[in-house]
Symmetry: C2
Subunit: 162 residues, 2 copies
């Protein structure tokens, strides 16, 4: 990217000059999210919802709190997502009998039916995302993103329960 137009008065504080990585991360994430959104639209999902469904496909039922921890998201975010997925008919809520504080979220038939198609979509998304990067480049990218993730405060993967 060779835009070296000289800055005026205060001098040289282009966003890409001040923080190249910090500028790139949100931009890439937005474009990636948009792509995911167009692919997911076909099945009636919005980006982020498929991640919650994937959690349920792996292990069901789960409470909103568990889902929030697994998705590394604050509880209200998971609650809202569950509500919308419930409205859409992909998921159902039920209060736990032995601990009446917790709610158990489980899949409906149409929620289960989405699985194959969503996995195809995710494979396509990943394919388009990495493009023609070599296997080594992908590994390097994953490693570097892992470093960034730790640096900005995100802890590593959380294997299910304690």
């Amino acid at each position: 990217m060779g835009t070296l137009e000289q800055e005026h008065a205060h001098g040289a504080s282009s966003v890409a000059a001040v923080g190249p990585v910090s500028a790139l991360i949100p931009a890439v994430a937005r474009a990636h999210r948009t792509l995911a959104g167009t692919l997911l639209r076909e099945v009636g999902l919005y980006p982020g919802q498929e991640l919650l469904l994937m959690q349920l496909w792996e292990h069901e039922p789960r409470s909103p709190g568990e889902l929030a921890r697994a998705l590394r998201v604050e509880p209200p975010t998971a609650v809202k997502a569950v509500s919308r997925l419930e409205d859409a008919g992909f998921v159902q809520r039920e209060r736990s009998t032995d601990d009446r504080r917790v709610v158990l979220v489980s899949l409906t038939a149409s929620g289960r039916a989405l699985r194959a198609r969503v996995e195809q979509i995710w494979a396509e998304l990943e394919r388009r995302t990495v493009g023609d990067l070599s296997q080594a480049d992908r590994a390097r990218l994953i490693e570097l993103l892992g470093s960034i993730s730790r640096n900005v405060g995100d802890v590593g993967p959380d294997p299910c329960g304690p």
Copy 2:
């Protein structure tokens, strides 16, 4: 339709297995955004708003459309951000005289006053983001993120004018 019914039996299609890069990008972006938010809170900005102000610090005044293109965002997003920054008193709107469709957004005194502090914050954000990565690693990361950016449909940097 789906022929992978068999694979559903044991689950085992973890999100990180299906699309490692696609899983990492949003996670890193969210954590990075949260960090930016806590740093920016001190000056009363939300993540994203500082990018719009940076555009104005570089070149002022600009129309919402120009801002949207520079930030690679849809026009309504820029308009809303301008409205909120206007309410916060950092920016002001004015209709252009020679083309009465376009609106010119310019900085107020308090908007200009934010510059130094925000640039410090961005330096700090970048420092924390890259952490102890070597110069070579940073360059590699930037290069790889650039590839991803092109792959997912984001075109390269857009030098100012048409």
